[in-house]
């Protein structure tokens, strides 16, 4: 019952690992029951933002190319997603030349020029120790501002972004090891007694820099997603609902209490 990623982990680990701690770790993983129990409690989540930025070309706009747009998948805090994602495939409208665009290195973005809005299918392929299955996202490309009265400007783009999180419910050990300190990944709290092998040496700073979107020319347009507001909203709503529930429960029990004496009264009537 061991999952495929863990078996891959075994094959991957062998060339790299030396060291007694990891060996004992591996034997632990080898036992199906123990290994599964431990892995099940751990979920790695990668917060991402996907969407597009579109600039109107103004005077330079032609009939078939009125906007210049970029569709992308980025880390929610602009961190490098390359640690998790191997490549991203953007499937564009069939009217584009070679509509299947593959992006092999981060930042996972694609720029094009066009005139129409359509749905773009984004398929994310992960590294082999992360997940074998790809994940699909769908984004409707937006070029024109929501509010029709807003005049289009070449300086201010139309930006539409969505926040989401990629969840890996049963991450492999090597995946865990690799990302344990990476800022792009939300690392869960490990259950007690679970230790990971030390992370591989950090790649040189230059390579890493290029993958993240912190210095991206489009960064100034990116939206900020903070869960704090939403949490507050939800907490307030829950409080209201809970209070209402309590009131209703009191009302119901009151009615029931009142009914009891009446019931015995009607019983007497029935006996007559």
């Amino acid at each position: 019952m061991t999952n495929s990623s863990s078996s891959k982990m075994h094959s991957q680990d062998r060339p790299e690992i030396s060291g007694s701690t990891t060996k004992s770790q591996r034997t632990k993983m080898g036992k199906p029951e123990d290994g599964e129990k431990k892995l099940k409690d751990i979920e790695i989540s990668v917060p991402i933002v996907y969407g597009n930025v579109a600039f109107w070309l103004g005077k330079k706009a032609s009939e078939y190319q009125s906007h210049k747009w970029t569709v992308y998948v980025r880390g929610a805090t602009n961190e490098d997603l390359g640690v998790v994602i191997k490549r991203a495939v953007f499937q564009l409208h069939s009217s584009f030349n070679s509509p299947t665009r593959i992006v092999e290195t981060p930042p996972f973005e694609l720029s094009e020029a066009g005139w129409g809005e359509f749905e773009i299918a984004i398929t994310l392929f992960f590294h082999s120790d992360v997940c074998d299955k790809p994940l699909n996202l769908y984004h409707h490309l937006k070029l024109y501002p929501e509010d029709e009265s807003t005049t289009m400007s070449t300086k201010k783009p139309v930006v539409v972004e969505f926040y989401d999180e990629i969840a890996f419910p049963e991450p492999s050990e090597s995946f865990l090891a690799r990302v344990q300190n990476h800022p792009a990944v939300t690392f869960p709290r490990l259950p007690g007694g679970f230790t990971l092998p030390p992370p591989l040496p950090v790649e040189d700073a230059n390579r890493r820099k290029r993958g993240d979107t912190k210095d991206n020319p489009l960064t100034q347009w990116f939206m900020n997603f903070s869960e704090a507001d939403e949490l507050l909203q939800l907490a307030a709503a829950r409080q209201q609902v809970q209070a209402h529930i309590a009131k209703l429960r009191r009302q119901i029990s009151l009615i029931d209490a009142q009914r009891q004496p009446l019931k015995s009264c009607s019983d007497q009537l029935n006996l007559l």
Binding site: F126, D164, T186, D229, L234, H244, I252, K263
Partner: protein, 442 residues
């Protein structure tokens, strides 16, 4: 049409009255080619999608090379056994009368009633209840009247019921069939052999049907009422099955015993729902936990998924047991509370909170419904046992849909009276009693 003008009645838009204006439009719409519009209207007016009349045939003249005459000729009917000869008009083409049997002969369908010989009767068909004479008579009548047993029963010399006649006929036919068959397997698929006539079953069936048919309206209503109660109790029983409940056998007994009394519906439901109240609160949450676990398991199978997708699945799982209307109400409540139907920042915690909120709203709606039922019971229960006094019916609308706290106050006011039966108490007692209102703690 002048009469209509005089009377001031509106003119109906008949094609006849609006001929001049609408004719070109009507023509292009309806295309009654070949026949006048009025005749076409007789067929139903609007053109059918598949034209049932072949309009071109209607105005067709006979082919010019054919010479048609009509002659008064004799004919015979093959369906008759007496060689009766009658006369009728026949369309003769070029001097050749039409050939073939009388066109209506094919409609004379007959039933194959089995004919047995005397030896066969002696061997297979003797029965203590039936004489040979009677059986012969029966079969003769069956043939004459095409197995219409009602008629046969009426004509039968000795009084036998329809079921008895049917049984005799079918059992005899079956016995003959089996006896004549070269092997039992050959006839095994014959409907007579496969499904023998069951006298007692038929009697019961007809009796039950006549009972249902002759039910009075009163009885029907009572039956429906009792069935609804039973269904409700069944549902609460199902919900409470997750947790333990010892009171259930008692309530079901109560229902069956008191099915006839009008007062009882209110009576039996209140103790049962009293008992169920603490239980039903537990049971839905038990069910919800089960749903959650199975959704989580299926998500885990995916190896990778999006948080929004996970939330969608969990929401669906939580709402799987409720109807569409309830789901819409939950969404409306969320909107009223100022919460996004789909969170803008769906992190793990946000999604968890969102899900919990939805579940709490479901609980809230359930409780509101429960409260409504209880209040409804209260008044109907009173109606049954006391003479209804013309009271001023207070506004009973408990506002479940909008998240208004105004509706809640109405409920509170009523609590302070002796009972929830608002329709019962007339205006005078209600006004005399001092009403202590709880200060609203909003």
């Amino acid at each position: 049409m002048d009469a209509k003008d005089i009377l001031g009645l509106p003119k109906t838009p008949l094609p006849i009255t609006q001929e001049k204006k609408s004719r070109p439009q009507k023509d292009s719409q309806r295309k009654p080619d070949g026949i006048s519009r009025e005749v076409y209207a007789l067929t139903g007016g609007l053109a059918p999608l598949m034209p049932s009349i072949d309009v071109s045939q209607l105005k067709r003249r006979p082919a010019s090379d054919e010479k048609i005459t009509w002659q008064w000729l004799p004919f015979t009917n093959s369906a008759r056994k007496d060689n009766l000869q009658l006369y009728h008009w026949v369309r003769v083409v070029n001097g050749v009368p039409p050939t073939g049997d009388y066109s209506f002969a094919k409609y004379n369908k007959l039933v194959d009633v089995i004919k047995y010989t005397d030896e066969e009767y002696e061997k297979y068909l003797t029965d203590p209840m039936w004489t040979k004479e009677e059986t012969d008579q029966l079969f003769d009548l069956c043939e004459r009247f095409d197995l219409r047993f009602i008629v046969i029963a009426d004509r039968f010399p000795s009084s036998r019921t329809v079921e008895e006649l049917k049984e005799r006929y079918y059992s005899v036919s079956r016995a003959i069939l089996i006896a004549r068959a070269p092997s039992p397997g050959d006839v095994a698929s014959h409907p007579l052999v496969k499904e023998p006539y069951n006298l007692s079953q038929e009697r019961e069936r007809k009796r039950a049907l006549s009972m249902v048919l002759s039910q009075t309206k009163q009885q029907e209503r009572k039956d429906a009422e009792v069935l609804a109660e039973a269904k409700r109790i069944q549902e609460t029983r199902m919900a409470a099955r997750g947790a333990e409940e010892p009171e259930l056998p008692v309530t079901s007994n109560a229902v069956t015993e008191s099915a006839d009394k009008a007062v009882v519906p209110g009576d039996t439901v209140s103790p049962s729902s009293n008992a169920q109240l603490p239980v039903t609160a537990v049971a839905p949450s038990a069910l919800a936990v089960a749903d959650n676990a199975s959704t989580l398991a299926s998500l885990r199978m995916l190896w990778v998924y999006l948080r929004t997708y996970a939330l969608e699945q969990m929401v669906q799982a939580a709402s799987s047991s409720v109807g569409l209307r309830t789901i819409k109400r939950v969404e409306q409540t969320l909107q009223d509370l100022g919460v996004n139907l789909k969170p803008k920042v769906p992190t793990k915690t946000v999604c968890a909170e969102h899900l919990e909120l939805r579940k709490e709203i479901l609980t809230l709606l359930n409780l509101q419904k429960q409260l409504q039922y209880k209040e409804a019971e209260g008044s109907s229960f009173r109606e049954g046992s006391f003479v209804e006094m013309p009271g001023s019916p207070k506004d009973r609308t408990f506002v479940p849909d909008s998240f208004g706290f105004g509706g809640e106050r109405v409920g509170k006011r009523d609590q302070k009276r002796k009972g929830p039966g608002r329709q019962l108490e007339g205006p005078s007692p209600a006004h005399k009693r001092p009403r202590k209102m709880k200060a609203p703690d909003l």
